[in-house]
């Protein structure tokens, strides 16, 4: 398990979002715990992730609290 802020490009599963405020924000945009996401652009700079038709840029501070797991 890794933090979203430190992963490379590829497919990941969101295992947890540790801060409740950040969880709320992600869920409002339609990104939920358990979702499979694709990292399109890793750090440095905002991390761009994609789930289906939703593409979201996540700031570094936010990504620190998103725990993901590599798929495949």
């Amino acid at each position: 398990m890794e933090k979203l802020s430190s992963v490379k490009e590829g497919k990941y599963k969101i295992v947890d979002i540790t801060k409740i405020g950040k969880l709320k924000k992600m869920c409002d945009l339609g990104i939920l715990i358990g979702d499979i996401i694709e990292v399109i652009k890793p750090a440095p700079g905002p991390i761009i992730i994609k789930k289906g038709n939703i593409t979201v840029a996540v700031g570094y501070g936010m990504a620190m609290d998103v725990i993901v797991e590599k798929i495949e």
Binding site: G45, P46, I48, I54, T55, V56, V58, G59, Y60
Partner: protein, 660 residues
């Protein structure tokens, strides 16, 4: 005529504006929500002899009392008698759109879901069983393709029907038996409150620990009991209620969507957007492309705008000659010709450039590029101690500083708000554009685009350095986390772009007809009295004032009284800098006269001064409203200092280099 109120709510990028434009056309006005400075868009249309007033609510993903935008939506929906609420749903992201629907269904009942962009969904091989969805949600659903005008007539008809025949059976989200009991329990403990939100909505918000709604209750005796109930529920759930609520809503929606989705060929791919994004947000290429796009915009503003401007000038001269040749008293002729036509006219001339500017910016917005620009700037923003989202109001500042400062509302952090507001006046607004066009047209004909670009660039640089400086001195707080959606790239939709360009230009025109018109009359008065035979000379009031302050500008290379008074009037509205020169020299002799007073170096120094020296009065008032009088005064003094300082340094250094 009978009137009805229609509100449109929805996530950003669901085509809300497109539908709003399709319904109302250009019968729109942009105002402010009462008491706050968030932009309010209203319009109307007439259908079957009823006037439908349409209100475009701020685009949001959720409804909390913590954000100004969302609070407005909540307030509006509860306090105004909205006859029908349209909720935009994105056919490509139905789950998220329905999530928003579940939130709204808590306090408005007469809802139509506008399922937009169905063509894109069909392309991806998705179709929905709409009548089944209508049954499940107990609402009417209208399919639309906003940018092709498909479904708009059906929507109008459906709105009409809904106004006439209000349904009696509504969708109520069911959180499960146990949880519903707890909601009831808290409802029963809720004290009598002095506002009209539905009880169930307030209860849910308090359970979600929404700060705004919790604070409304905090001092009440009943709050203790409510808090106990919440803690009890969380013990049973073994998780925070807000997490439970999100999971519950999404799991039910997920079930619904699964039931109504008809066919799904394969996993959705919008690879093109993905590929473009990789390039556009690349750490190295991104900023280069960004600068290139900005430069191209400025180039087009002149390349296409200048011929029309020259044409307008001929017309204006005709009008002027007409008034010169008719029989009028000397003073009224002077007022019309020297005052109004020269003053207002010299601003009106820039209308084509201004329209193009807004038009091109609207294209950037409509394609989805703006969100990428925020991503590109995020690293820079962080380095200077700002939030990534600050880039959006800063970019808006190029249009007009006033809505830009209002735009700082999207920032959650007070510190980000203040710092961004301090930097916005350095973003060169469209009112300052005439100054540059005028001077570069005289002194830098060959490189007009490049020179103006450099001024914009210096504005940005100085804005950034100011922020860096102030965040270092005054603030040491962390920024709130960044999360922005990147909409799918698309070809700009011409109607949105033209309406957007036109509405903003209309605002400029209106300003020319009111504020600037008034300003030119005052200016004329100061130029005409006390010695009417010596109009626009040192002997009159304007000349005396100009003469009094002009020595300050001597070190910057433009220490003559006309420049002094032009800058003073520019505080009132920046367009008046040009108007003032126009009133002294007449717009047709403007170029020759200015070429006499200025050199290329001093003209650049003067442009720098016009860019930096002070926010205009309206901007000042808005800063005061948004972040308080102390910061507004501070912004004023700081920009005055920076403007004079930069302008002087530039003139001295370049004069020295040229001389040596």
């Amino acid at each position: 005529m009978e009137e009805k109120i229609i509100a449109i709510a929805g996530n950003p990028n669901t085509g809300k504006t497109t539908i709003f434009n399709a319904l109302t056309g250009t019968r729109q006005m942009v105002g402010n929500w009462p008491g706050v400075t968030v932009e309010k868009k209203e319009g109307y249309y007439i259908y079957k002899n009823i006037k439908f007033n349409v209100v475009d609510l701020p685009g949001t993903y959720t409804l909390t009392g913590e954000s100004e935008d969302q609070k407005i939506a909540i307030e509006f929906l509860t306090s105004t008698k909205v006859d029908v609420l349209l909720i935009m749903a994105d056919a490509l992201n139905l789950e998220r759109s329905l999530y928003f629907f579940t939130l709204l269904s808590e306090f408005h009942k007469n809802i139509i879901i506008v399922l937009n962009m169905i063509d894109l969904a069909e392309k991806e091989g998705i179709d929905y069983d709409i009548s089944h969805l209508e049954q499940l949600l107990k609402v009417k659903i209208v399919k639309t393709i906003g940018n092709k005008n498909v479904g708009i007539e059906e929507l109008k008809e459906e709105i009409y029907k809904r106004c006439k025949d209000i349904p009696s059976d509504f969708f109520i989200f069911n959180y499960g038996e146990e949880f519903e009991k707890s909601i009831k329990e808290i409802e029963n403990n809720l004290p009598l409150l002095n506002f009209q939100y539905p009880k169930r909505f307030i209860v849910l918000k308090i359970m979600e620990k929404d700060e705004y709604f919790t604070n409304l209750l905090k001092d009440r005796e009943e709050y203790k009991k409510i808090k106990e109930i919440i803690e009890r529920i969380e013990k049973i759930l073994k998780k925070p209620i807000e997490k439970f609520l999100i999971e519950k809503r999404y799991s039910i929606i997920h079930g619904i969507v699964k039931e109504i989705i008809i066919e799904k060929k394969k996993e959705l791919k919008i690879e093109l957007t993905e590929k473009i994004d990789k390039i556009l947000t690349n750490n190295l290429l991104g900023p280069i492309i960004f600068l290139f796009i900005m430069f191209t915009i400025f180039h087009f503003v002149f390349f296409l705008g200048n011929p029309i401007k020259d044409f307008l000038e001929i017309i204006l001269e005709r009008i002027k000659n007409y008034f010169l040749n008719i029989n009028l008293s000397i003073w009224s002729k002077s007022l019309i010709v020297d005052g109004i036509i020269s003053g207002v006219g010299s601003v009106i001339l820039f209308l084509p450039n201004i329209f193009l500017f807004f038009f091109l910016f609207a294209i950037l917005e409509d394609t989805g590029y703006m969100a990428r620009a925020a991503i590109i700037s995020d690293r820079l923003m962080h380095k200077i101690g700002l939030h990534g989202k600050s880039a959006i109001p800063l970019i808006l500042g190029f249009g007009c500083n006033v809505p830009a400062i209002m735009g700082t509302r999207i920032l959650e952090n007070k510190k980000d708000k203040i710092l961004t507001s301090l930097a916005i006046p350095f973003m060169s607004c469209s009112a300052r554009l005439p100054v540059y066009i005028l001077f570069t047209g005289i002194f830098f004909k060959e490189n007009q685009g490049l020179i103006i670009f450099s001024i914009y660039f210096l504005g940005i640089l100085i804005g950034i350095l100011s922020i860096k400086f102030f965040s270092y001195i005054f603030f040491k707080v962390e920024s709130s986390p960044l999360i922005i959606e990147l909409p799918i790239f698309r070809i700009p939709y011409w109607r949105n772009v033209i309406i957007e360009g036109w509405i903003k230009t209309k605002y400029f025109l209106k300003k020319a007809g009111t504020i600037i018109f008034l300003g030119t009359i005052i200016l004329w008065f100061l130029n005409y009295f006390p010695n009417p035979q010596n109009y626009g000379t040192k002997l009159n009031f304007a000349g005396r004032i100009g003469n009094f302050i002009s020595p300050i500008f001597k070190p910057a290379g433009y220490g003559f009284w006309q420049a002094g008074i032009a800058l003073i009037f520019g505080i009132y509205a920046k367009e008046l800098v040009v108007s003032t020169f126009g009133s002294f020299f007449g717009f047709e002799n403007l170029s020759e006269s200015l070429a006499f007073y200025f050199t290329p170096i001093s003209s650049y120094a003067f442009m720098l001064m016009s860019l930096l020296y002070m926010p205009c009065i309206v901007t000042f008032i808005i800063i005061k409203k948004e972040v308080g009088i102390r910061w507004a005064l501070f912004s004023l003094l700081w920009s005055l200092f920076v403007g004079w300082f930069c302008s002087t340094i530039f003139y001295q250094v370049f004069s020295f280099l040229k001389g040596g």
